[in-house]
Amino acid sequence: MSDPSEDIDAHSGVETTGHSWDGIKELNNPLPRWWLISWYISIVWAIGYMIVMPAIPALPGMGTNTLGVWGQSDRTNVATAVTELKTERQASSITLLDASLEEIESDRELQQFALAMGESLFGDNCATCHGAGGRGAKGYPILADDIWLWDGTLDGIETTLRYGIRHDSNDQTRFSMMPRFGRDGILTSSQVDDLAEYVLNFSDRSHDHAAVTRAAPIWQAQCASCHGEIGTGDRSVGAPNLTDAEWLYGSEPRDIRETIYNARNSHMPAWEGRLDDASIKALAVYVHTLGGGE
């Protein structure tokens, strides 16, 4: 019963498939049987796999993908792994809890741990406003420089983190309120202009000496109690030093005028309750080592 069109390879005496590529022909050798058996086994395996594992995606009308009898779920696995990791880290977190901030920063191993933890926490929670590496933005202080509105010590940073700034629902939050001098009619518009010249004069940038002279008594009456006689600020009330090179809301005369007219009074949330104590400590150490720590 052989095919009359059968093509026999002269060299090997084996029938060819009749396929020819540049004169090279494919021999029609039979497949090893164990290959075929392996293939059947893979089919059985695939069916078993579809039964025990999630295999069919959520098609229209199904609501969810098939879950499989083993209930395997990557989502659940990740959640379990995260829980396990937290338990595992508990050991080190406890050391962070027990150690003082100074101890954490001076112990090289604890410091490395706190910094690694702090860096990722900072990225998740703080960098949105303060920028990666604490580079800051208009209205959001740079954390890498040596200028602090409230406190740049380890403990001070921890306090700020824990209770926030002007955070309504926290009793211990850092609080102060600069009046809206122009908007609330405390000062006239021209007095605000004069005061702006007075503030510029701290950094020798005023060109209107008459205005500076006019503003001097206003400064003494309205501003000096918080920002100091000579504008060096007061950290206990978060009043910035107006004589240094850094301006949180911009250094241009109109920026300064707007601050006096409308006031700024920015907010930072209290992290107590949102982050655990070990995380807050790690963050405090991280922020302290960004470069400005006192």
Binding site: M1, S2, D3, S5, E6, D7, E15, G18, H19, S20, W21, D22, N28, P30, L31, P32, R33, W34, W35, L36, E105, S106, R108, Q111, Q112, G131, A132, G133, G134, R135, G136, I142, A144, D145, D146, I147, N241, D244, A245, E246, T289, L290, G291, G292
Partner: protein
């Protein structure tokens, strides 16, 4: 002009239904019962087996003193601390290109050997060949040689058969376990992991890999054998492309052997070839082919047919080497009645491979002998690129990474050159505002520091390139690293 014909339906257009295929689509595996060969090549194979298995099983137990606190195992892939130890060579993650170099060197070595001597790798040293050979040796010890094994397999089950078969599988499994067990010794301290394996203290991966390697050895060497070479391994295909008509391959000299025919004692040898069709070459073949069919994909060039044929030729009083290491071109020339040219070892491709081997080898030796034992990396902070301090000065942050590959603690001095009026401090190691600072780098370790460099503002110079010098206080070894200082402009 190239013509491609793809005739999927040979009978299409001729009318009438396609007749059913004459051959089945798949076939049962033909069981191979290799006969024991005697001779020089068999002896060489026993020696190679003993040496290579000895190397594999014993190397993890060799010790190599590297100093306090560093593993003293001569060959160790230490994943935990991300280091690879090979006698005096130590590969850190940043030296990974040496491993690539080693692999390139090994492949070029294989290319060279293949172009000179054909598939000697397959025939003598491939683990699949070596372990299969060992397993067949065990099989022979329990079930006898070829004829006895064929008889035993055909015989119905009996106490004798059961004992012989059971014994064989037990020994196979012991060898398999020994093989899988030796594998994990390369990844951990051998004595520790060997003891821990039995007391339940070894890492889970050690059990897992020992188990996988045990099963793989048992199935690949015990059952799959030549099927691995013929149907799974890509190497026969690659070697097929690397060998050529000038390579020495195990070859049946058809110019001398043909026409073959059985021969009775006293008959004339005139008008016929030396091959007496005794089939000994086929019986000893571990892959079950007939070498007289010419070069074949399945042939692993183990040369056992040479031994078998030589033995038979000696017995009937004819010259040996009817099957021998020979080149295709020599056999073809002789068959055409001419004298074959002298065998040329120096050919374009062997010279090319040798040249490349020498170049890669020289590069590796040069690289390894001049490999830095102390590395300094400095990475400038990208965010913030700079900060302005209350004094108006500008500060930049850097991460300094020091890699100490030596086994002693190093005292290094840090100083800055090329940045006017610059001072620096290192977080965690105050004080502020110094111009040079000492750092201690632990032996065999990596240390990271954050450095803050402060310099006066200068609107006309937004970016200054400067040099950070790290100098060993004891031997004066100095590393200069250039980086930049950014200012607002």
């Amino acid at each position: 002009m190239t013509k491609v014909t793809l005739n999927l339906h040979p009978s299409a257009g001729k009318g009438g239904p396609t007749p059913p295929p004459a051959k089945p689509l798949y076939e049962k595996r033909r069981q191979i019962y290799p006969k024991l060969a005697h001779g020089n090549f068999r002896m060489v194979k026993w020696v190679v087996m003993a040496v290579s298995l000895g190397v594999y099983y014993l190397i993890p137990w060799l010790r190599w003193n590297r100093g306090e606190g560093i593993p003293n195992q001569a060959v160790l892939a230490d994943f935990g601390s991300e280091k690879f130890y090979f006698f005096f060579i130590e590969i850190w993650p940043q030296d990974i290109h040496y491993l690539a170099g080693l692999l390139i060197f090994a492949s070029l070595g294989l290319f060279l050997v293949t172009s000179l001597l054909g598939r000697v790798w397959c025939g003598y040293t491939c683990p699949q060949t070596v372990w299969t050979d060992l397993y067949i040796w065990v099989e022979r010890a329990f079930e006898g040689d070829r004829a006895a094994r064929i008889r035993l397999d055909k015989a119905p089950m009996s106490a004798n058969k059961l004992i012989r078969k059971t014994g064989k599988h037990v020994v196979w499994l012991i060898i398999a376990f020994w093989t899988g067990g030796a594998f994990i010794l390369y990844w951990h301290d051998a004595p520790t992991v060997a003891r821990g394996w039995f007391t339940g203290e070894a890492p889970l991966s050690a059990y897992w890999f020992a188990g996988i390697l045990t099963l793989m050895t048992y199935f690949l060497a015990g059952y799959l054998r030549e099927q691995v070479c013929t149907h799974m391994c890509p190497w026969p295909r690659i070697q097929g492309a690397l060998t050529d008509e000038h390579a020495l391959n195990v070859t049946y000299r058809y110019d001398r052997g043909e026409p073959r025919a059985p021969h009775r004692k006293g008959e004339s040898w005139e008008e016929r070839g030396d091959c007496i069709d005794c089939n000994q070459c086929v019986q000893v073949c571990p892959v079950g082919i007939d070498i007289r069919d010419g070069p074949q994909l399945e042939c692993i060039h183990c040369a056992l047919c040479i031994d078998a044929c030589d033995q038979m030729m000696t017995r009937i009083g004819r010259p040996t080497a009817l099957i021998a290491y020979d080149t295709d071109v020599a056999v073809a020339t002789r068959a055409a009645g001419q004298t074959p040219p002298k065998h040329r070892l120096l050919r374009a491709r062997t010279l090319l491979y040798t040249g490349l081997l020498v170049i890669i080898g020289a590069l590796m030796v040069f690289g390894l002998s001049t490999k830095a034992t102390f590395e300094v990396n400095i990475l400038k902070d990208r965010s913030p690129p700079f900060v302005r301090l209350s004094s108006g000065d500008i500060r930049n942050g850097y991460t300094l990474k020091l890699v100490n590959k030596t086994t002693i603690s190093r005292d290094m001095t840090l100083s800055i050159e090329g940045l006017d009026e610059a001072t620096f401090r290192i977080i965690g190691i105050d004080p502020e505002g110094v111009t040079s600072l000492n750092l201690q780098v632990p032996p065999h370790g990596v240390d990271r520091y954050r450095i803050l460099v402060t310099a006066p503002a200068n609107d006309s110079d937004p970016q200054t390139t400067f040099t950070l010098h790290i100098t060993d206080t004891e031997n004066g070894e100095s590393h200069a690293n250039r980086t930049s200082f950014r200012r607002p402009n």
